[in-house]
Amino acid sequence: AAVAAPAVAHAARGESAILELPPWSTSLGKPVAANPYGMPSKYESNLVRRESPGLTRVGGSSVAFAPLQGLFGIITPSGLHFERHHQGWQDVDPGKHRLMINGLVKKNMVFTMDDIMRLPSVSRIHFIECGANTGMEWGNVAVPTVQYSHGMLSCSEFTGVPLRELLEYCGADFKKGRYILAEGADGSSMTRTIPMELVESGEVLVAYGQNGEMLRPENGYPLRLVVPGVQGVSWVKWLRRIEVGDMPWATKDEAVHYIDLMPDGQHRQYTSTQEAKSVITSPSGGQVLLDKGFYNITGLAWSGRGKIKRVDVSTDGGINWRTARLETPVLSKALTRFNIDWNWDGKPCILQSRAMDETGYVQPGYGQLRAVRGKKSIYHNNAIQSWKVVENGEVSNVQVL
């Protein structure tokens, strides 16, 4: 007891974290530009991109998921942007990179990065989601955390040139040429067909900027296509060529992959739009609540068809819902952050979120989705996500019909 006494006395006076001034309050810190290019705190090293063990067999054709469980707001830090490559990523020399435009155009043309960066530039915030995001969960719960269930999702401010401007400049035949092919400069030279309607809307960008700086190599440095609302595979990275044509190309990644298997054995081809979806990012699977009491439930909502109009949250597995607060800005085809107050009484419960977009479309439940599309689609799983909380505060991934 005599030994314990000082500690008790101490506790009565207060916490040592306050009473004994911490070293950072009593010392000189590091100079400016100690890191000319800064990095996160050493205490943040748990938040990194990760592969899901067993999902793929080689890292060059694989996915690294963004750690959504620890992210805030709508901007994804570029260092944590999800990765999906089909033949590895390359650090392309921008001085040697070229963009060719050919096909149904008056003049086949070549642009250097110097040319492209002198063209009229726009900046816009958009989400990018891989069509296979949440794909592991079509049949059953398969992964423990939101990083693996929803982490093929990111949102950035992109800067670039509307592709429409480039096509007009090359004299594209907008009448016959209702499709474009975008092609990458990497080993896979990823190719995808994009509808001309999206290009004409001015939304499709030939982008070089991401969150204020150049695209990261993993995200297509120095040039990628930005196709708002459409699955990530169409946002061709290391973009080297655009062809204008009169029919779709049926490239490998639109004829063998990124096709959705329906219960009747047919594959839906050219499914591109990412329909409205949302997920609670915290509390979420694999986390433990420290105690009962007040919490801020936070999450993300997005729609490939426009703006998010509303997000509802349930803490009883979908029987009753409350409308969450949406953070600003709420932008078309961008992530929207939602937050809602919650008092956890220490009893088991199930947390869900449900997004509604400006078209009035409401994110479906697993029962509704599977009734139409079965369990084998792989792509475009936008079902309502459920997180089950038990008495000891552990949160786990469950599926509710």
């Binding site: 080689v58 033949q87 060719m100 059953n140 693996y148 949160v395 019909l401």
Partner: protein, 229 residues
Amino acid sequence: FEGLGREATPDEVKAWDIDVRPDFKGLPKGRGTVDQGTTLWEEKCESCHGTFGESNEVFTPLVGGTTAEDIKTGHVLSLKTGSTPQRTTFMKVATISTLYDYIQRAMPWTSPKSLKPDEVYALLAYLLNLSNIVPADFELSDENIAEVQQRMPNRNGMTTDHGMWPGKGMGNGGIPDVKNTACMKNCKKAVEIASALPDYAADAHGNLADQNRLIGGVRGMQTGEAHAA
């Protein structure tokens, strides 16, 4: 845009415009036999995809799961019955141009764009033969490829009747197939849990405590080796 861009030369367009469409626009002239393909396959492809395109080591199998009946109907039946555990490339692909385009563009994986047109024809002939689409003495060429297309096992297996093509060229114009309503109160009687995370799946992703921040209202669970220990 005064001063920006320049006209591409014909040789430049030729160097980069390598795509092959379903109507065979872009298909290079050339030919190759199953035999030639066998040799090339063993040299350049087998190590990753297996001798018969069956390997699951580096990527999902290319060949398998298609039947003579499928070649007749143009529908791979096992896609409906679910009798095959994994979907191979040949079970899915509807357009032979896709394979020509992709092999020419991206294979072998470690030296993409190294194959000559005749080599691509030969390798494709080899894979077609493995799938029993063409006989062992077949020579594939730009002249007969359209006929072979008519024997692709899943050539009728694609539909664009959906609401997820953001253009007018195909699909239903954007009408969603799945509907929910924004019910707010007493939306259902009970909560039916259809699936929950198996313990091994939690532990297969390492220690989740190391994948969450050290502060905030939550911590990561101890899983993986940490959990076993």
